[in-house]
């Protein structure tokens, strides 16, 4: 695997809804696609002990994350007959209500697109070296934990 082929999945700050719309638009030329499945993670304004989450700050070990992402991509493509898959994850600050994760799978048939998308989301949550720091409205923080 040569380094130049590795795709960068990280974007600085929130993922814009117009970017998601544009990504969908780009797939209309691929007329062998019958189904798209999209997962979006959105930052929740959770209240914990009277403090409210206003944002999550994401950091990563980028080199390892991109290498891992290539492995996950290969696993998914060898298991599912996908036309394509796109993954974007935020770094830096994402405010409550904004999108921090965008997973987009496409296939000829719905079951394949849906199952692949769900599996990819689980893998990203569990296997990608990314950390979320929940920033509270009183300027304290706690480290996010994935369930």
């Amino acid at each position: 695997m040569s380094d130049k082929k590795i795709k960068n999945i990280f974007v600085q700050g929130a993922i814009a809804s117009s970017f998601i719309g544009d990504s969908i638009q780009k797939h209309q030329a691929k007329t062998n696609i019958g189904a798209h499945s999209i997962f979006l993670g959105q930052v929740r304004a959770d209240t914990i002990d009277d403090k409210k989450v206003t944002a999550i700050e994401y950091t990563t070990y980028e080199q390892l994350a991109l290498q891992k992402m290539e492995e996950l991509r290969e696993e998914i493509f060898s298991k599912y007959q996908l036309t394509c898959m796109h993954v974007y994850h935020s770094l830096g600050t994402v405010a409550a209500g904004e999108i921090c994760l965008f997973v987009f799978t496409s296939s000829a048939h719905r079951k394949i697109a849906i199952d692949a998308c769900e599996e990819m989301v689980e893998k990203i949550k569990n296997e990608l070296p990314v950390w979320g720091k929940e920033i509270f409205d009183n300027d304290t923080h706690q480290w996010k934990q994935n369930k």
């Binding site: 993670g41 994401y58 950091t59 990563t60 070990y61 080199q63 390892l64 290498q67 994850h89 921090c100 994760l101 989301v121 990203i124 949550k125 569990n126 296997e127 990608l128 070296p129 990314v130 950390w131 979320g132 720091k133 480290w143 996010k144 934990q145 994935n146």
Partner: protein
């Protein structure tokens, strides 16, 4: 010889920086002993250790300019 250490997630609340450099430490067990002495709170946190992007599960010999990463459980998405 020099080792570059990268610190992630809640470990940055203890070490208070994202990178450290140490000199003349020959293996990961010695490195962790050294860090635990300097940052006793490290012992209270669960994390994985990677050497040059490979997660290790036992003591590992370090070469000059090796990159060691200390990674608490992931919480992306």
């Amino acid at each position: 010889m020099q080792t570059n250490i990268f610190i992630f997630g809640q470990l940055t609340d203890i070490i208070l920086k994202g990178e450290l450099t140490v000199n003349d430490i020959n293996d990961t067990d010695t490195l962790m002993e050294h860090l635990n002495k300097q940052y006793p709170a490290l012992a209270t946190i669960k994390y994985a250790i990677a050497v040059n992007k490979n997660i290790i599960t036992k003591n590992t010999i370090l070469q000059d300019t090796d990159a060691v990463a200390l990674m608490p459980p992931f919480s992306g998405g």
